[in-house]
């Protein structure tokens, strides 16, 4: 039996969550005595499938046929189902990212399986897998089991560790699609991706976020400068997005993105419950706000009460010194 991992890719590389899941699967497989199997679909799938061995996969299913060049739920779900048939998993893992959110529940339903979404921890208890899953935007945590087999879970990105094991190339198994492009009823036609040097918010180690306290959209120039010194991603509170200062893509919070960086620096953000829902699991939180009563100070590891337009420029200079930039 196997631990089967769907490895999402983008532009010829693995999404970071795929490596996190292969690493986690390897840890689990050490306990259960199973093999880790990977699924890689889309352009460059074969070459990427070969790489999965470095993270513990013994077998990798792949398909780079024309029918998977652009994503469609229908083609990808069919191929994942084929991989299930050949792999015989006892546990299936996929990232809880935009791709996973589209694909996983469809596959789960096709296979008539229960599924736990947005898992942040997995425990092995005999033959069971116990999934830790936040609900109510993280205000409550649950432990859940699947009643159906195999167990099926989507995992929150940026929570599990990546561990390269340096194994051999896995056995490659090519999957052959039955579906043709003519059969497909819904498909991606075009990607409009903002090219950025900065890391993706949900994968970032460090995030610098701006909120209403910036007072104006130009305030984000300062946030970006600070982010660039740290190699960080830039986030925004709902207030800043509603004001039109940043796109919804940048929003951190209950109705935006849930992030788990090592360091989250909140500038001019008061710290409403809904914002905390998005960044409350950050390892370290720094708050810069001129209101000493701002709720963010109740959860920040470090805080400075002051005018961010005075504090942040000094912080940028001090960090440049500390990082020898």
């Amino acid at each position: 039996m196997s631990i089967l991992v769907y490895c999402d890719t983008f532009e010829g590389k693995f999404r970071k969550v795929s490596l996190e899941l292969l690493s986690e699967a390897s840890k689990i497989a050490e306990k259960t005595g199973d093999e880790v199997h990977a699924i890689v679909l889309g352009p460059s799938a074969k070459a990427l499938a070969e790489e999965t061995g470095k993270y513990g996969a013994k077998k990798a299913f792949y398909c780079e046929d024309g029918v998977v060049e652009n994503y469609s739920t229908e083609a990808y779900a069919e191929l994942v189902e084929k991989a299930f048939d050949e792999s015989e998993p006892k546990l299936f893992l996929i990232g809880h990212n935009p791709r996973g959110k589209d694909l996983a529940p469809r596959v789960a339903q096709r296979l008539e399986l229960g599924m736990v979404s947005d898992v942040i921890n997995i425990e092995v208890e005999g033959d069971d897998f116990i999934f830790t899953k936040p609900i109510y935007a993280g205000k409550c945590i649950t432990k859940q089991k699947c009643k159906t087999e195999p167990a099926f879970a989507s995992v929150r990105p940026n929570v599990m560790a990546v561990e390269e094991k340096g194994g051999d190339a896995p056995e490659l198994v090519e999957l052959t699609p039955e579906i043709s492009l003519d059969d497909i009823r819904a498909i991606v036609k075009e990607l409009v991706i903002q090219k950025s040097e900065r890391p993706e918010l949900t994968e970032a180690e460090i995030i610098v976020s701006g909120g209403r306290g910036l007072g104006k959209p130009e305030g984000f120039q300062l946030i970006e400068e600070l982010a660039d010194v740290l190699g960080a991603a830039v986030g925004a509170s709902r207030a800043a997005v509603d004001a039109g200062w940043r796109e919804h893509h940048d929003q951190v919070g209950q109705t935006g993105k849930v992030v788990s960086p090592v360091l989250y620096i909140a500038c001019g953000i008061s710290g409403a419950i809904q914002h905390l829902a998005g960044m409350g699991s950050s390892k370290f939180i720094v708050a810069i706000n001129k209101d000493p009563e701002a709720p963010i100070f109740n959860v920040a590891n470090y805080g400075i009460v002051g005018d961010l337009y005075k504090v942040v420029p000094v912080l940028i200079e001090e960090l440049k010194k500390a990082l020898n930039k």
Binding site: T73, P98, A108, E112, I135, I141, L191, E200, V286
Partner: protein
């Protein structure tokens, strides 16, 4: 066009979570229509206003969920189907989708199904995709723009770092993301009118639902424990001159937290 919109009632996003007897208590909690469902309802109404047709709400949930349905009817929905029988309740995403699918099949003759992309209580984002699979429909999730043309839809979908532009045949299941539209606040006259709009309560028999597939019986997962997350404690607040504060902060980040 007949547009089906799936709606559910959830805790208000401001609600404090309290555990009682090891489970989440709903005592004194304000209940609302799932905010993401409002985007779906709003979009359905706009399509109806443009193309003509009707907006039919479908809801799996306890009696109290009628309130959420009335709100959506007051926004401009035409009628509702409520599945509140005990047999439908206390399930999970799998059993909710099974119930909705049967009700929607029974209703029939629809052109489009809209749902919120996620519910703010479970945060799972599974039900609409399961529904699409059960009804054998194409799906487009996390939509921020929907343009209908000739039995097809062009949909902008929010993905990591940007957008995907999809094309789908109709009927389809499309899930609504924040930014799709600005949901209207029901006017008082519309709230009054909504009280008279039809909400049909259907039983498992009415929709030919298999009692093994719905509610607690049909759940594919089980929650074995609930607990509250550890509270984050307030940390150090640096006070004094800006230069001094910043130096202390950088020092702490470097030598204490060791994150830079």
């Amino acid at each position: 066009m007949k547009i089906i919109v799936c709606v559910k009632q959830t805790f208000d996003t401001e609600a404090k979570i309290v555990l009682e007897g090891g489970k989440v208590s709903d005592k004194g909690v304000k209940l609302i229509a799932n905010p993401y469902d409002e985007f779906a309802v709003e979009e359905a109404i706009r399509i109806k206003e443009k193309e003509g047709g009707e907006v039919v709400l479908v809801c799996v949930g306890a009696e109290s969920a009628t309130e959420a349905m009335r709100y959506c009817l007051a926004m401009g929905g035409d009628r509702g189907i409520h599945l509140s029988d005990e047999a439908f309740l206390n399930g999970d995403e799998k059993s909710a989708a099974a119930a909705l699918a049967k009700a929607i099949e029974e209703e029939g003759d629809y052109d489009l199904i809209l749902c919120g992309q996620v519910a703010v209580d479970d945060g799972s984002a599974q039900v609409p995709q399961r529904l699409a699979e059960l009804l054998d429909l194409p799906q487009v999730t996390i939509a921020t723009k929907i343009e209908l043309e000739d039995g097809k839809a062009k949909v902008t979908r929010e993905a990591d770092g940007g957008n995907e532009i999809w094309e789908t045949e109709l009927p389809a299941v499309i899930t609504a993301q924040r930014g799709l539209n600005e949901p209207r606040y029901p006017s008082l006259p519309n709230i009054m009118k909504a009280k008279k709009k039809e909400i049909k309560n259907l039983t498992p028999d009415d929709i030919d639902a298999d009692t093994d597939e719905i509610g607690a019986n049909g759940a594919g997962t089980e929650i074995i424990e609930y607990f509250l997350p550890p509270k984050r404690e307030a940390g150090k607040i640096f006070e004094g001159e800006v230069d001094e504060c910043v130096k202390q902060l950088v020092d702490a980040l470097k030598n204490e937290a060791k994150v830079i």
